[in-house]
């Protein structure tokens, strides 16, 4: 029983140390500075909060997964020897890996929220009606970080070879961010004579990036940008139920790889 009480505390401690470690790394600041610059430039170019939110969405949806994947893989491989030191301590494996994972997620999410938040707040976000759209954008960004960092940890746990691990991680990102959409579109065109509502619905749910895009566009309620799948989504679920369904699916996308981290780390040799 003592162990059960003790368990979340060790995980939080490891989370704290991983977070501090990352906060001292140059890359966290580069990432933060990039978002700061992006937010500021977009606001100056668009001169309109809502329009800036849409442009930002297109950037976030591709970039956040990329950074989450690369940081996740990099952090795992870089702290390998240190992880071994932790493994020899009386700590549970799952608390070590979940702590590290959440540390990476927290530092990345903080860079994202602060980097984009600061210019938007200065521009007058709190007096604007775009505040909910903007918040949703940041929440989606946080979800994508959670998902792709977890996927990256999975890849790193399964590949001893660093180069291979990096390769698979980049391929995964490339597939979900670029290739998937192409294949999806081709399928829709090839089978255009058949009813494709359900297929496209599933197709969207199976890719967290598509799911996030649909989620944000549903909220923004811009039919012109929704595209075929978005329209099907809206028609099938309606706006508010559609939002709930997408959030549930994103949560599933977080839970599945996190469970695999726990399972895989328990049975791995170090």
């Amino acid at each position: 029983m003592r162990l059960r009480q003790y368990y979340p505390i060790t995980m939080l401690k490891i989370l704290k140390y991983s977070f501090y470690d990352l906060m001292r790394s140059r890359w966290s600041y580069v990432y933060f500075a990039f978002y700061l610059l992006l937010g500021t430039v977009l606001l100056f170019l668009n001169n309109d909060l809502s329009k800036a939110v849409i442009t930002l969405m297109n950037v976030i949806i591709v970039l956040v997964p990329l950074i989450g994947t690369i940081f996740g893989v990099m952090y795992y491989y870089n702290s390998k020897e240190f992880t071994e030191l932790l493994l020899a301590q009386p700590l549970k494996r799952s608390s070590i890996f979940l702590g590290q994972y959440l540390g990476v997620v927290l530092s990345l999410t903080m860079s994202l929220i602060l980097g984009l938040g600061i210019p938007f707040v200065f521009y007058g976000l709190f007096e604007s009606s775009a505040i909910w759209d903007f918040s949703l954008l940041l929440i989606t960004g946080a979800f994508l970080t959670l998902i792709f960092t977890a996927l990256a940890f999975n890849i790193a746990l399964s590949n001893e070879n660093k180069i291979k691990g990096f390769g698979y991680a980049i391929l995964l990102w490339l597939f979900l961010a670029v290739i998937y959409d192409g294949l999806f579109l081709m399928t829709l065109i090839m089978f255009e004579d058949y009813p494709l509502d359900k297929v496209s619905l599933f197709g969207t749910m199976l890719n967290p990036i598509d799911l996030s895009r649909t989620l944000i566009l549903l909220k923004l309620d811009i039919s012109a940008l929704l595209g075929y799948t978005g329209a099907v989504f809206k028609q099938f679920f309606g706006t508010s139920f559609g939002l709930i369904v997408s959030f549930v699916m994103l949560t599933v996308w977080v839970v599945m790889p996190v469970l695999r981290i726990v399972f895989k780390s328990k049975n791995k040799d170090f």
Partner: protein
Amino acid sequence: MVIIENLHKKFGKNQVLKGVDLTISEGGIFAVLGPNGSGKTTLIKAVLGMVIPNKGQITVLAENIKKNSTYRHKIDYLPQIANFPSNLKVKELIKMIKDLRKPTHDDQRLIKLFRLEPFLNKKLGQLSGGTKQKVNLVLTFMFNSPIVILDEPTSGLDPISMLRLKDLIKAEKAKGKTILITSHIMSFVEEISDEIVFILEGKIYFKGSIQKLKTKTNQPDFEHAIASILSDNHA
């Protein structure tokens, strides 16, 4: 103290441990020896729960170690390669390990012993290999656990630190601790260990005192005795 029964471990197609049976009794210094790739580190890591055996059972202080992490409170371990987060300072690392494991004041004594005071505020990434190894030794010995496992403790140490380490190990033994060491430096092993455990091709080939090993192999000194085992087995 530590009982290993019929331990098997395979990495892919490579069968590293092929049925190791070993009982380490309480108190004393045990040297685990063997040629490169014979399974020394795998055996040690299995005791630590870092490598999960395919078959067999390990008991540490009457506790089965399978799916257990609390027994590691009783073990201090010095890993072979010490690579710490390079952004952390030495002081912070020591504080952090104490925070994760349990409070202790023994670190002060060990820092003095290895003359680490000038490095406490330096980042770990800036330290030389030998200094890192000293930090590693402080982290290992500060918890004062009944079982100590040292994987290549002498690597990178200068002659004075080596002497201090030997004294430290002897002092720990005098407290009644059980110490497991792997090393490639035969003179170090000969000087310090009470018993030799020799692993060959994934099995325990020999266990006993150095004197017994010399008699068995019919060799006048320890280094030749080890060499004769290796050449007889074409390893």
